[in-house]
Every structure is written in C-alpha cells, then in structure tokens.
Amino acid sequence: MMRPTIGLHPAFDELSAFADRADTEVTRSRVGRHVARCATCRHAVAEIRALGEAVRASEMPGAPAGLWARIERSLDNDVASGPGRSAGAERSVAIAATRDAEPPASDSPKGRGVSTTIRRTSLGIVLVVGALAAVMAMDAREPLAAATPRRLTTDRDFARPGMPITLHYRPIDALAHERSLTVWMLVPGKGEMRFDQALERAGVLRRVSGLDFTGTVALPDSALMVTFVVGDSTGDIIDRTELRNGQMPAVVLAADSAGRPRLDALIAALGGERGSPDRATSSRWAAKMRDLYPSAPETWILSDVHAQRSVIGDIVKLFESRERKYYSWHDRLEHRAGLSAETETMMAALGWELMDTTRAEFWVTRLLHDHPESPSAPALWIDRYRDVPNDSAAVVLRAFEPIYTRPNEANGRALERALMLADRSGDSALVRRWHARIDPRNVSWLLGSELPRLADDPAALADVRRRLMDAITDAEGRMHGGPTLYGRSRFFAWYERQRLRTRLAALQLVAGDAMGAKSALDSIAHDMEMKPSCPTPETMRWRAEASRRLGAMDDARADLAYVATTENWQLQRVGDSVATLLGSAYSKSSWNDALRNARAFHRQCWVDSRDARSRAGG
C-alpha cells in the first residue's frame, strides 16, 4: 500500500520496511531516495535498526542453577514409562510381567471370531474397561509426547498414615507472590477420584527461595490414596496445571509398616474408573504391584491393563492377547475361594468387554453370591439385559428388584439401565416406581412424561416443588463451598441452580400461574446474561411458553428463535412447530428476523462469556 510522499516523509511502516533492506537498495526505491536526502528519516531508520541491535546486545540470564537437577528428576520420572526409557528397563518390566505376575497363558482361543472381539460393548461399568480404553488411546498418541515438568513433587510415592511427606513446589505466576501456600488434598472414598469432591486442607508450604516452596504433610489414617494440589489459602486459586495437561497431580498411596504400598491402595489407585491416572504414573504403580504382589489376582489383571505397551498397531491382536489371558485367569480362579470383590468385578467386567457371555455371567453370579453388598454388582447384572425386547423389560425389572438394593453412587448406572427398560416396558406403574428412585436432586425427568401427571396431582406437584427447593439449597451450598479438583465446579453449581429454578418456574406454569412463571424466568435469564453466560434453551423455552399463554407473541417468538438457533439439533426442531405455537402471530419474515437476532445474541453472549472466563483465569 503506497502512500504519496511528495513533499512528505514516508510513513513509519515504509521506513521500517526500508530498514530491513540492504543499503545498496537506497537509490533503487522511492523511500530509499527520500532517506538519502532526508536527515530526519535517516535518523528514524537508524533508530529502527538500533532497536534490533539493542535487543541482540542485551544480556539475558543463563539457565538457573537448579534447572539441570529438575530435568534429571523429570527424566527419572519418565524412565519407568516414557518412550525414552532404556532398553534394559523395558526388558526388565517385560520379564517381570511374564515371569512373576501372570499365570501361564492358555493357548485355547476357543475359536472366537475377530469381529466379536472387536465389537465394543457400552458397559462402562467399572475398572478395567475405562482404563483399557485410556491405555489404548494413549498408545495411539504421537511417540514424541513427552512428560510435562511437574510443579509439585513429593519425596515419596508411598507413606504410612502420619508419616511426614515433603512437598516441593514451583508456583504458577498467579501464586508466585504468596509468602506461603496451602496444600489441598482429595481423599477419595474407595479409590474413586471425584473431581467435584471438596478438597481438604492438608498443610502449608513456605517459600524457601525465589521460586521454590516446600513443606510437609501427612496422610490421614484411613486414606488409601491422597491427591495433593497447591493453591492459595482461600482455594480461589488452585494450580491445576497437571490436570490440564492430562497428568495426575501429586498422588501418594498408603504404605504398610515396611513402607511398601498396600495392595488395597494399589487396587484403589489403578482400579478407579474415574480419574484414571496418567500413563507414566499408572505404569510405575503397576510395576510396583508386580514386584510386591505377584500372586494376587488383582495384580494379574490390573498390571496387565496398565502395562506399558510401546506399540499397539493392531487392536485385534490386543484383544486376542487379552482373551487368552482372560481364559487363563478364569481357569485359575474359577475354583478358588475367598476372592475379593474387586477381582470378581474385574473378571465380570472383562468378560462383558470381551463379549464372553458365559464367563461374564459366571462372575456376576459369583459376585452377587460372595459379595452381595458390592456396589458394582447390580449394574453388572442388569447390563446383560439392556437389549431385551420391550415386552420382556417388565420381567427383567421384576427379577432386578431384589438385586437393586440401595441408591448409591455406583447404582446410578444400574438405575439408568433400569429406567430405560421401564420406559420401554410401557407399564406406567413400573415407570413411576423406577423414576421415584432417581436421586431427588436429579429432576431431569420432570420435563418429560411426568409433567402432565403433575398438573393433575397437587400432592405430587407439592412434593416435587419441595424437592426442587432442597436441591436449590444444595446447589447454593456448593456455589460457596470449598475448592475442588474441577476448576469450574462453583460455576456449574450456579448453573445447576439456574436450571433448577427454571424447573420450579415450569411447575408454576403447569399449575396455571403464567404471570408468576414469566416473572421468575425473566429473572433467571437476566441473571445468566449478567454472569455473563448464555441463558439455557430450557429457560427460554419455558419463558416462550409463559409469554405465549400471556398473549405476548413477540416475546414468545424471540425466545423460540433463541431455542431454534442453539447447537442442539433436537432443540432446533422447535422451529418446525413455531407456526402452530405462534398462530396468527406467525409470519415467515418475522420468524426469519427473529432467527437473525437470536443468532447475533448467541454470538454476543458466547463472546461475553468467553471473555469473562478468560478474565477469571480460564
């Protein structure tokens, strides 16, 4: 883009571009000819060139003294698992795996077809399946994916309760100015790491040098594994660097009196379906498990799941190999008494995963017999019936009644399956019975088939309203609760509260109070815009309905357009019935205008919401 410069100095950009050229070009260009005659511009060009020279000449500090030590520590962590480990290390792991940890492999593939082995079930029940998928996914990653340096390190991976554990921490910038930092810990129940579980205070780190903090903490008495993260004293800032990079934060497992990790701690750590540890960490634990507990069946299974596989190019081979191992484990364990619930659960889950129905059913039956209290058993039991014909669903559910004993975390999956069967059965009494077992806080079914029933049943309406109020109170508690591993848990508690408020307003509408419902929904939408966050389509859908009942068709049209322009294709279908909903207030041009405005609104609220997150540190 040339600008006329007759009688004028060239623009700064032109001088800057000129400064990059060799002096020999001076006379060849218009700018060059001007610079040759103009002392001011010659000075400007000299200044521009001096900027680069000044930066090149400026002294920068070299690598800090402790950096090599940190690199070495990182390399040490990487040795047990990373692609860069030595061939010797790889051999020793492989030998340990075949010689000590596993029973002899049977050579009886029993003619199982490849297609059946590849077929994945949607079990997702416990332990092995998720971890196996995680291992396979990691194997597919590019080979140069290296370990990211950790900011928080512990002086031991295993500790007895009460034993001091020294932590070293190099802070993120947001925490670098603090004099002392708080160590927060997550003590999961039964080894399941829940990202929305409140963190507890574990201790304090003090600054020992410019960017290094240190301090000691201890494992609580009953803990099998503890995850440590560092933050400020309020928990408003928590360093989640590792989690963002797909690594586990610092984890310490419970040790026995000799300082060795306990078997139950290793099972908890490796078997936890949620929060599966990263590959390097899990491989280290698996290697330890093979070394210390080679004859435990849990070791055979878990150490195989978490074993290092340098190359898995062929998933079929992986499954065939797993089948052979599974058969051999089954043959060895079938008649052994006193197996743990974990072992039997894993054998059942593996059986389903490998589509070995006979063995899977054997282990489910055995689990129900040996460990009827096992939270995994109901889900394992009902999963085999998820594909039964609709007219058999009621029979399955009747058989399931005595097995489904209590609502708990694991039974949520079993209940989900049961609800699907109940819905398919067409038996309204069955539907009602199973829906009533849903966690009172979960009212997602409220907008479905139950809504017409509530409109005609004041007692049921009052009951649901009370449960919604309780759930809102609960969400409000979590909005102001302690920190969690999941960075946005407070936001989602707020979001859940807004959804619950929306349903409360929906109940108001169903009960005939359109004015009150509209007012409540206006307030919810306003709160969301002020957050800033995009209002939920559900809120807008109900507000459209309230407006429609109040005869405010312009408002109804705008809100329906908002719903129709969400990314959810099912919600977009509201557009198909808009002519019916708006009646005489519908016209093609006004609907198109509303859609255009709604898209612009979506874009703006998305940008506002993203900017707000960015300002809050992501």
Partner: protein, 191 residues
C-alpha cells in the same frame, strides 16, 4: 543444586576435536546416555533458556521450555539428520518452537510475577528513568513481541515467521512494523 558432571561423556570423544566430541555427545544422547545429555545442557542450556526467556517473558515458562527441550531431546534427536556444526542452530530452533508451543497451548499464565514487576522497575531505576529495551519488550503484546524477536534476534524471514505463527507474510510484516513503532514510542516516552 548441582550442574551436570563433565567427565564421563567426554571420554567418549576426542577432546582435541570439538566437532567430533559434539557429534559423539549427540549420538550418546540419542542412545539414552544421561551424562552426554548433561554435557549438551552445559553447552546449550543457557542458550535455550535465554531464547525461551525472551520469547515467553517469564522465567518460570523459560524453565519449563528448557526442561521440555532437554527431556525430549533423546527422542527428538531421531529427527536430527544434520552435522554437529548444525546442531546449535537446530536446538535453538527447537527451543523457539517449544516456546511458541507453550505460548499457544495456554499453559502459560499471563500474570506478571512479582519478580517480573520488580525487574521492570529496577531496570527503569538503573537507567535513570529510561526503560530498558527488555522491559519495553515485555510491554508489547505477545503477537508483536514474538514477530519482533523472531525477526530481529532469531533471524527468521517473514515467510518462516508466517509459517511458525500460522499467519500470513503480510501480517508478519505489519506486526513487525507495529512492534517497532511501539518500542520506539515506549523508549522515547520514558526518556
């Protein structure tokens, strides 16, 4: 706090022939020799760190980048096919790419550390109220600072910068001009 030991890896090589010594160190590192990697860190660690520090503007990030470069080096060397004379330029380019990756990944925190702020003011004090060029650089936006450093310090052409930053050549040129203008104004304004 200790630096890597000097001895063993060097014994692989002929001290009288630096090029051969370096070649041997590279080969030994490729095979997983920790001592050889330590030798490479002694030779190139400062250089890598300084480049990362300039580009990221944060000591903590520069340490992360340097650590990433050296932890990955044994594996990354599989992709190095040049002679030992080209190794210095190669590892510097690796450092630049690693720093850019970190900046792009969002892992980096944009907050200025207390140390960084202190340095900024200390630098200003030292020069009687004038900003140093490094302090002024830190006041530029990432996109301007990166182009300026890649062009002026690393010696990349606009075509290469465009490729590295996934922008057009014209955009790279414009960013460079703007960076220079801002720097000039910052430095003039602080006089």
């Amino acid at each position: 706090m200790h630096r890597p030991r000097h001895a063993t890896a060097v014994s692989l090589a002929d001290d009288d022939d630096p090029a051969r010594a370096l070649r041997d160190r590279i080969e030994a590192t490729r095979l997983g020799d920790r001592e050889a990697l330590g030798e490479l860190f002694i030779e190139f660690g400062d250089d890598v760190f300084r480049r990362a520090l300039r580009l990221t503007g944060s000591r903590a990030d520069a340490e992360d980048v340097t650590q990433d470069v050296f932890v990955r080096l044994p594996r990354a060397l599989a992709g190095f096919t040049g002679t030992s004379a080209m190794f210095g330029a190669w590892i510097r380019r690796v450092a630049v790419r690693q720093a850019l990756m970190l900046l792009r990944s969002g892992r980096r925190r944009r907050e200025v550390t207390v140390e960084g702020v202190a340095n900024l003011f200390a630098a200003a004090d030292d020069t009687l109220g004038r900003l140093t060029i490094d302090a002024a650089l830190q006041r530029l936006t990432d996109e301007h600072r990166l182009v300026f450093l890649l062009k002026e310090v690393e010696g990349y052409e606009h075509r290469e910068i465009a490729e590295l930053l996934d922008i057009s050549v014209a955009n790279s040129e414009v960013r460079l001009h703007r960076a220079r203008r801002e720097l000039r104004e910052l430095l003039r304004g602080s006089r």
